[in-house]
Structure formats: structure tokens, C-alpha cells
């Protein structure tokens, strides 16, 4: 399965909308185990993405992901900026290969997160959503239940990366804010794929 430019644009647009309407939830999640700004950060990033896409309509998938990456990198201001930024930048480079499957694209984004964050699955970060989604896409079993299960799993983890890691055991029982914003990203993808 591959994503066409028009669908990919919808994907990013839906993601941006969810970020804007869920700012408060993301901030609240981050207040519990971080510094309370993930919603504000992502909203700032979302607005920058919208502005950049309005300024110049991307003509290729590579353009679209690169524009998204740069807007995030420049405006988010938190760890999620370089993280989402790296994921989308790596995706933008990889997607120049026309044969790239969607599952490979998401795995490349996930690998980008791991590289930038020096992290992996099980550390209670956004990676714990990206990796299961990538796996499910590869197995052609991607749907909302994958995201729900990933969030449920994230909740039970003890953080070992990011600010929540300072809390050790006390980080348990909370959804990681970055995992939640990534859930929005992939719920947006489901909406696009489901059409």
C-alpha cells in the first residue's frame, strides 16, 4: 500500500486539526509526567505546518513531508520538535523512492525517532505508538485497535527517556503525551485510509 499526494495532504491536515483541538488534553497529559507544554508545543507546530502549506502548495510527497518537518522543527520548541521533525525529514528523503510502501515509510519515521531520541520501544515515548503502527501496517492489520492497544500499553510503562523518566515508578499509570499526539497522527491516517 502507498499513499498518494492528495491523501497524504489530507493526512497532515487532519493531524493538524486534531492537534489544534486537543491542545488542552495534551497539556494535561504532559502536566502529569512532564512540564505541561506538549499541547502548546504541538499547537504551535500545527499552526506553522498550516501556514507553510498555505504559503506554498507542496508538489510532491517529499515536499509535503519536508515542509511538515521544517515547520515542526522551527516552531514546536520542545523535544517533540526535533523528534517529529526528524521522523518527517527522514520520511521526506525516503519517499523519493517511488516504490516505498506506507509501512516502510512509517518504519523509517520510527527509526528517525529512535535515532534522534537515542531511544527505543518500551521507554514510554511516542515510539511506543509509531512502532506498533508500523508493525501492523507491515502485517496489513492496521486499525484503531492497534492505536488503542498501544496507548493502553504505554500507560503501564515506566518511562526511561524524556522528562517523565525523572519520575521513575511514578510515571506509571499515565499516558505519555507524545504517544497521545502520535495517536492523533495515526488516527488521522486511518481516516484517510478508510475513505
Amino acid at each position: 500500500m502507498k499513499l498518494e499526494l492528495v491523501d497524504a495532504k489530507k493526512w497532515i491536515t487532519l493531524f493538524v486539526e486534531k492537534l489544534e483541538s486537543n491542545q488542552t488534553i495534551l497539556n494535561e497529559l504532559d502536566t502529569a509526567i512532564g512540564d505541561g507544554d506538549h499541547g502548546t508545543n504541538m499547537k504551535r507546530g500545527a499552526e506553522a505546518v498550516t501556514a507553510a502549506l498555505e504559503k506554498k502548495e507542496p508538489e510532491t510527497l517529499a515536499d509535503l513531508y519536508k515542509t511538515t518537518a521544517f515547520a515542526m522543527i522551527q516552531k514546536v520548541g520542545g523535544a517533540s520538535g526535533p523528534l517529529y521533525g526528524t521522523a518527517f525529514l527522514d520520511m521526506s528523503k525516503a519517499v523519493k523512492n517511488d516504490d516505498l510502501e506506507l509501512s516502510d515509510l512509517i518504519q523509517i519515521g520510527t527509526d528517525g525517532l529512535k535515532r534522534r531520541g537515542e531511544s527505543d520501544t518500551g521507554m514510554k515515548t511516542m515510539i511506543d505508538v509509531w512502532q506498533p503502527v508500523s508493525d501492523a501496517l507491515k502485517a496489513d492489520k492496521f486499525d484503531q485497535s492497534v492505536i488503542d492497544a498501544a496507548l493502553e500499553n504505554v500507560k503501564g510503562l515506566v518511562a526511561t527517556k524524556g522528562r517523565a523518566s525523572y519520575l521513575e515508578e511514578k510515571s506509571k499509570g499515565h499516558i505519555d503525551p507524545g504517544a497521545q499526539s502520535s495517536a492523533y497522527l495515526f488516527e488521522s491516517l486511518i481516516e484517510v485510509l478508510g475513505e
Binding site: 512532564g34 512540564d35 505541561g36 507544554d37 522528562r163 525523572y166 519520575l167 521513575e168 511514578k170
Partner: protein, 122 residues
């Protein structure tokens, strides 16, 4: 709150910045600061430290400092007053952030101190 945080730095800007940084992650803690000399220069002031201790609302205080005279003035004050102040010889910014994050969620002192151990550099 059980624990308050005290920041002693040679620079008023560092002290203020550390407070801003940790207050974001620990908005309920009492964080008081003493930065720079009386006249705003680089150095330290016993009077500012005294004031920051007086203003701190923690039952006990976790204290962090940067260099030489911040430490000596802090220790001098410790000899003069009888509030419970725990002084940590750890990285200023990183230590204060670690302690504040844990104190914010009511972690016991043993947990806080366990986590500060690896930041000991002084």
C-alpha cells in the same frame, strides 16, 4: 509542601532561569533563589541567601549551588540558622531539575537523594 528548593548561583540570571525551568515541571513547589552579589554583579551574597531561605515555604529545603563562594556562603548560613536544609554537591541545573520533579510528586527524600547520587560532581 514538604520540600522547597533553594538555588544559589553566582549569577542572578542563572538563578532566575533555573527557577523558570524547574517551576514549569514543578509548579507547586516553593522555589526561592539567591543569585549574584548584592549590587547585581557576579558573585554571592549571604544576605540574599538568607532572604531566599526565609522566603522558602518548604518544611525542609533542598539546596543547590554552582561554585566556590555560593557553597561557602550557603554553609556559613547553615551554621547560623536552624532550619533543615539539605545541601547537594551536584550539577546545579540538572540536580535542581531532578529534585524538583521528584519533590513535586511527593517522592520521599531517599528517592530524591538516590536520584541525585549520579549527579554528584563536586
Amino acid at each position: 509542601m514538604k520540600y522547597g528548593i533553594l538555588i544559589v548561583s553566582h549569577s542572578a540570571n542563572i538563578a532566575k532561569g533555573v527557577k523558570d525551568l524547574i517551576a514549569q515541571a514543578a509548579p507547586n513547589l516553593s522555589i526561592t533563589i539567591a543569585g549574584g552579589t548584592e549590587d547585581g554583579g557576579i558573585g554571592s551574597s549571604l544576605e540574599k541567601i538568607q532572604q531566599a531561605v526565609d522566603d522558602n515555604k518548604g518544611d525542609e529545603i533542598l539546596a543547590f549551588y554552582d561554585l566556590g563562594s555560593s557553597k561557602m556562603n550557603l554553609e556559613m548560613l547553615l551554621e547560623m540558622i536552624d532550619r533543615t536544609i539539605h545541601k547537594y554537591d551536584v550539577a546545579l541545573v540538572e540536580g535542581a531539575y531532578t529534585a524538583a520533579t521528584l519533590a513535586e510528586v511527593d517522592s520521599p527524600l531517599t528517592t530524591i537523594e538516590d536520584n541525585l547520587k549520579s549527579l554528584k560532581i563536586k
